[in-house]
């Protein structure tokens, strides 16, 4: 099993290696100082070895802190600074303790032990190095906040140079004596200075955070100074500088100090303006809230409320309200910090005020889409800003913002308001569009249901015997009509055939159609004569139908034994009958009244029934007004004559063929228009 190196593994390795290196170095130093004290000659390389160990110790901890701090996702600046401060505090306290301890044992035997001093010095050095390196990593994070590509390149160069400088000790040069050292130091200082100009993170602190940071950074700066002194000024001799041999350490110190100072000053000077930045952030957040689409189940109010609140806080308005124009007489009001009574008062004052200025370019014409600034003298509120809210090109409402100070609204504020209002308008428009789309969906669903109901009600097979052929056809329109046809076997040689049309369209027509079918199927069983059927059907429907609905019907009783046809027309289109003997077709002209029009006993007076005998080859064509009223693009109707002619010309065909011919001619006539009513046809041919 192969061990996969996780980040935690690297972290721990770095820590372990670093610690080991320090221990090794300390051991070496202590040994060296003992040897020195004892007068032993040590190899010249051992100084270098110590420095080498130190160099790698630096690198180990650079890696460690990099992994620990750099990789952490937290962008909580105060948190990071606090960490640095904490390390610094520990280091300072330790240094102070060591200092105290050293001075307390200065005159004792213990104090003369060379290796003790070296040991303590190494402890200090460890802690200070850790502090420097960790601070460096944190400062890196701050500088690289919102970095650009360019900045990153410059930083990497700087960091690389710094790491390379760890090994500068190999030259053995000292700052105070070597020009090269000084030049390199100068270059690195300048690089550090330039990079220190990146303080964008300061802007993102709020007021409280800024104060905290000032305190922490101040203390960190103090620590840095203190450590600098500890390292570079010999405890024995307060005046002279020790030899500065490490380019790395001294450059690091310089850079860190400069950045701390800069940060401190910048935070300090940003304190007065921090509220502006915070306000801008708030505006951006409010804008985002306005632009979020309203969820289902919520309503428009919320957008207007957010708009009002955002607008008021953006311009420090003391009060405000939004009037939303609805279909009702009074507009809907959403207000804040002002009562309804006061709203009326202020509106009256606005109407009377003479100091109104319209905010627009002087070239545009005045309209109600103007933003108006009003100055009121006698009110609590001295300045008023009126902004129209437009949705889909129409004024949907007005927002009134009030301020107790005169000239309370400046150009900046008005601009912000405009963006808020535009965004709110878009959100409201989206919300309304969504509502319409949902309505449409619901309507389409309804239509689909109506269609499937209608389809289910029409019979699959039509009853007949061998004395006649019967064929039914229906083509449903987009908007469901209410065509209906059906048959019923009344007896061995007796059949009822019905065709009907329900008034209206859509789901209600489908419902009425199912009621009609029920009534037909029940009443037909009673084998009633045509007149009684219609009277009973009328009574039954009178209770079911809506106030303005009616059903037209044609009812036929075919007796194949007696070869008779009994029929009655309840307001339906006149049936077409072709007589083979006369070789001509004509429409039955009997009186009738639609069902559900006269909802009382008087209906019986309007039922006319006819009887006739049919011959072989005679044809009965039942249809609905969808066919007779079908119009072409010139608004000409298909009409009755065309149907009549078609039947005359095609009378030799069987019912299926007749129907096909008629319908195809119908389509030809109408062209490519969409059907707006159903086409229904039932053809009966007698054998």
């Amino acid at each position: 099993m192969k061990l996969k190196p996780t980040p935690k593994f690297y972290l721990r390795t770095a820590l372990a290696v670093g610690t080991l290196l320090w221990l090794a170095k300390t051991l070496l130093d202590v040994t060296l100082s003992i040897a020195e004290a004892s007068g032993l000659e040590m190899e010249s390389g051992s100084e270098n070895l110590s420095k080498t160990l130190e160099a790698f110790f630096f690198i180990a901890f650079l890696i460690y802190y990099r992994l620990r701090i750099d990789k952490a996702e937290s962008n909580n600046f105060v948190d990071l600074i606090w960490r640095v401060f904490a390390i610094g505090l520990v280091t300072t306290i330790t240094a102070l303790i060591i200092d105290l301890f050293t001075s307390s044992i200065a005159d004792t035997k213990l104090g003369e032990l060379p290796y003790l001093a070296k040991f303590l010095f190494n402890i200090n050095e460890l802690l200070i190095s850790l502090f420097l390196i960790s601070t460096f990593i944190v400062w890196k994070k701050l500088i690289l906040y919102q970095k650009s590509k360019r900045l990153l390149i410059w930083w990497n160069i700087f960091e690389l140079t710094l790491v390379a400088s760890i090994f500068f000790y190999l030259t053995g040069l000292i700052l105070q004596e070597s020009l090269i050292f000084q030049i390199l130091y100068g270059v690195m200082t300048i690089m550090g200075l330039l990079l220190s100009a990146n303080l964008k993170w300061v802007a993102y602190l709020n007021f409280k955070q800024k104060w905290k940071s000032i305190l922490l950074v101040l203390l960190i700066t103090i620590y840095l100074f203190y450590f600098f002194i500890t390292v570079y000024i010999e405890p024995a001799d307060d005046q002279t500088f020790a030899n500065i041999g490490s380019l790395f350490v001294v450059s690091l110190f310089t850079f860190l100090m400069f950045y701390s100072l800069f940060s401190l000053l910048v935070i300090l000077f940003n304190l007065p303006t921090s509220s502006v930045f915070e306000k801008k952030m708030e505006e951006a957040i409010n804008f985002q809230r306005l632009s979020q689409s309203i969820q289902q189940g919520e309503n428009e109010h919320q957008i207007f409320d957010v708009l009002l609140n955002s607008a008021m806080s953006a311009v420090y308005a003391d009060a405000g309200w939004i009037e939303i124009l609805r279909d009702t007489e009074e507009p809907e009001l959403r207000s804040r910090n002002i009562s309804r009574a006061n709203i009326s008062k202020v509106r009256a004052q606005i109407a009377q005020s003479k100091s109104k200025s319209v905010l627009k370019s002087p070239l545009e014409k005045a309209s109600d889409r103007d933003r108006v600034l009003v100055t009121l003298r006698k009110s609590n509120f001295k300045s008023v800003l009126i902004i129209p809210i437009e949705v889909k090109g129409e004024i949907s409402g007005y927002m009134y913002l009030l301020n107790e100070l005169t000239d309370g609204f400046n150009k900046e504020m008005i601009n912000i308001i405009n963006t808020f209002v535009s965004q709110a308008s878009i959100s409201v428009e989206n919300f309304r569009l969504m509502g319409e789309a949902l309505e449409n969906e619901r309507y389409k669903e309804e239509l689909n249901i109506a269609k499937s109901v209608q389809r289910a009600l029409l019979p699959d097979t039509l009853e007949h015997d061998d004395r006649f052929e019967i064929h039914g056809f229906t083509q449903a329109a987009q908007e469901v009509g209410g065509d209906y046809y059906d048959t019923f076997r009344l007896g061995e040689h007796k059949f009822a055939v019905v065709i009907g049309d329900v008034s209206g369209k859509g789901t209600s027509a489908a419902f009425h159609m199912s009621q009609m079918k029920g009534i037909f199927q029940s009443l037909a069983q009673l084998n009633l004569p045509a007149k009684d059927f219609l009277i009973n059907a009328n009574t039954a429907l009178s209770n079911c139908l809506e106030k303005t609905s009616f059903i037209t019907l044609s009812y036929f009783i075919i007796d194949t034994e007696k070869r008779t046809l009994e029929f009655s027309r309840a307001g339906h289109c006149p049936t077409l009958y072709y007589s083979k003997k006369e070789n001509a077709s004509k429409f039955f002209q009997n009186k009738g009244l639609g069902l559900g029009i006269l909802r009382n006993d008087r209906y019986a007076n309007f039922v006319e029934v006819n009887q006739m005998e049919f011959e072989k080859g005679d044809i009965l064509v039942l249809y609905t007004d969808g066919i007779s009223e079908a119009a072409n693009s010139e608004s000409e109707e298909f009409g009755y004559e065309r149907l009549q002619n078609l039947l005359d010309q095609n009378s030799h065909y069987d019912p299926v063929m007749i129907q096909k011919v008629c319908i195809s001619k119908l389509y030809e006539f109408c062209g490519n228009k969409d059907l707006d009513d159903d086409y229904t046809m039932v053809v009966i041919k007698f054998n």
Partner: protein
């Protein structure tokens, strides 16, 4: 679309119906006739000279007032129907329940003849 206007003339209320009486416009037609029925008019004339089309919805509106017209003994006369529209009324059988005349003069004569 439909346009319905009402005026009082002489001894009757004249309703002019123009355009198309379909499902969407039947609401307006219904409203106007309702208004006419609620007024004190004893005679109502409906001028359908410019009525181009009537659907079952429009027919339903007229039909729904038949009962009331009879109960309140109001003279309700429709005139000026085009051939096409008149045929629709007669197929349905409404011409047996509503008074339909050809011209305005005929309609006025009917009122005055009573």
């Amino acid at each position: 679309m439909i346009e319905v206007n009402q005026t009082t003339e002489n001894n009757y209320l004249l309703i002019t119906v123009e355009g198309e009486a379909d499902a969407s416009s039947s609401i307006e037609l219904d409203k106007q006739i309702r208004e006419a029925m609620d007024s004190d008019a004893k005679s109502i004339l409906v001028d359908c000279t410019n009525l181009n089309y009537i659907s079952s919805a429009g027919l339903g509106v007229f039909m729904s007032y038949i009962g009331e017209v009879n109960d309140k003994a109001i003279t309700f006369i429709i005139f000026g129907l085009s051939e096409k529209v008149a045929k629709v009324f007669s197929i349905l059988g409404l011409d047996q329940l509503l008074t339909i005349k050809n011209t305005k003069e005929d309609a006025q004569a009917e009122i005055n003849g009573l």
